[in-house]
């Protein structure tokens, strides 16, 4: 299967190992992720106002590319746009939902989109990688696992953008199961814990990082207390706040024990038997290799 893929800014910079591990895993599962030509910023932290349509221009441009790829024959009859980053998923989905509801808004945006030859028709569907796995079936995924992550206790961290608001989420916002199902399909144990969808503090990490340090402590401490060996995420902003900010968390909280935070795709790559280029465990701030070695999952 070939599917158009939207990377977003951070997957080409600090979170490049999220992208490489996901592309390699997808390939092993028979999915070819075809990067959108000429993609631009997703429009991150989607606009919540009713009156500034210009903020939806960037997301629409990306979704228009999918229609163009189909029209050119780069891709065959595939109107879905695959995302990895939770924030990109949410932002693109918000715009798409809005213009699907309002043909007037779609027309207004098309009217100001001077640089494009064709208008956006509104046929693109935004999906997250987890939804693709769910569609394939977690039982099917389990059959393709060559190295089950037996004994590994994983805390699935949803954060905000995969679940909220309800009409944009990939699962029920108060009782999601998709990440737990993913974890179980890898042969690992999904930890039941309390902080899986508490906000990490998001962009406050730039100008008000004390907020992030406090929330990161609460989230990570809860994961540890509930028995997790590590956490998984699909958001590069959550990953930064929960992984890299452990430097600050450790300095501030005496009872804090560091805990690895990985992109879900790194563990998928490991379970699919892929090599170090795909798993890239050397890129995480808190090194996950000691715990993976201890569990006999890594040499």
């Amino acid at each position: 299967m070939k599917i158009p893929y939207y990377p977003g800014c951070t997957l080409k910079t600090t979170a490049d190992y999220f992208e490489t591990s996901a592309i390699a895993s997808a390939k092993a599962l028979g999915i070819e992720m075809v990067e959108l030509p000429d993609w631009n910023c997703c429009g991150v932290v989607g606009s919540l106002t009713s009156d500034d349509l210009i903020r939806h221009l960037a997301p629409v441009r990306n979704m228009l590319r999918v229609e163009e790829m189909n029209a050119r024959g780069d891709i065959e009859n595939e109107n879905r746009l695959l995302t990895l980053c939770s924030m990109c998923y949410n932002t693109l989905q918000r715009t798409n939902a809005r213009i699907k509801q309002s043909s007037e808004d779609l027309e207004s945006i098309n009217n100001i989109m001077y640089l494009e030859e064709e208008p956006y028709k509104g046929t693109t569907e935004v999906v997250h990688f987890f939804q693709l796995l769910e569609e394939m079936g977690f039982d099917e995924l389990a059959k393709k696992i060559v190295k089950p992550l037996k004994g590994l206790k994983i805390a699935p961290y949803y954060g905000c953008m995969l679940l909220r608001p309800e009409e944009l989420g990939i699962d029920k916002p108060d009782d999601p199961t998709i990440m737990e199902n993913f974890v179980e399909s890898l042969g690992a144990d999904a930890v039941q814990w309390n902080a899986r969808s508490i906000c990490c503090g998001s962009y406050h990490t730039v100008s008000n990082k004390e907020i992030v340090v406090k929330l990161a402590y609460e989230i990570l401490h809860n994961a540890r207390k509930c028995g997790a060996d590590l956490l998984i995420t699909s958001c590069p902003l959550c990953a930064f706040n929960l992984d890299n900010r452990q430097e600050e968390v450790e300095a501030q909280y005496l009872d804090f024990e560091p805990i690895p935070v990985l992109y879900f795709s790194q563990l998928l790559a490991l379970a699919l038997g892929l090599g170090v280029e795909a798993t890239a465990f050397d890129k995480n701030y808190i090194d996950p290799r000691p715990i993976l070695k201890k569990k006999g999952l890594l040499k």
Binding site: L48, M87, S207
Partner: protein
Amino acid sequence: MTGNVKKIKLTDRSVEFLRQVEEISGEEITVCEQCGTCSGGCPFVEEMDITPSQIMRKVMIGQEDVLQSRTMWICASCFTCTIRCPRKLDVSKVAEALRQIELRLAIDEIDLNDISENELEKLPTIAIVGAYRKLTG
């Protein structure tokens, strides 16, 4: 009116302010029944000077001094309140509208010069772009 009920008289200006926030947010703020669910579940409430439900109340009665509160800047649009409001109000959109009223007057909340070079090197693109989208005009 009996007992301790206080009658609040809305001025033209306060009604205009309420309408402005409703217009930008797209939310019908006056249906808020002040149950406090948004404040109870907000992961940022301890950092705020007044709670999200107090924000709703102030906007409802057109108190423009709500713009002096830090609350709208602390809200990070995590949508926890959004999924829980029994009146299906989106409080995060109200916070966005209040931020926008300030930002559209070119009153920025953050300045790149205040962030150390060391931090700028570490921060992922998504954080910087996100903060600038939310906190500058």
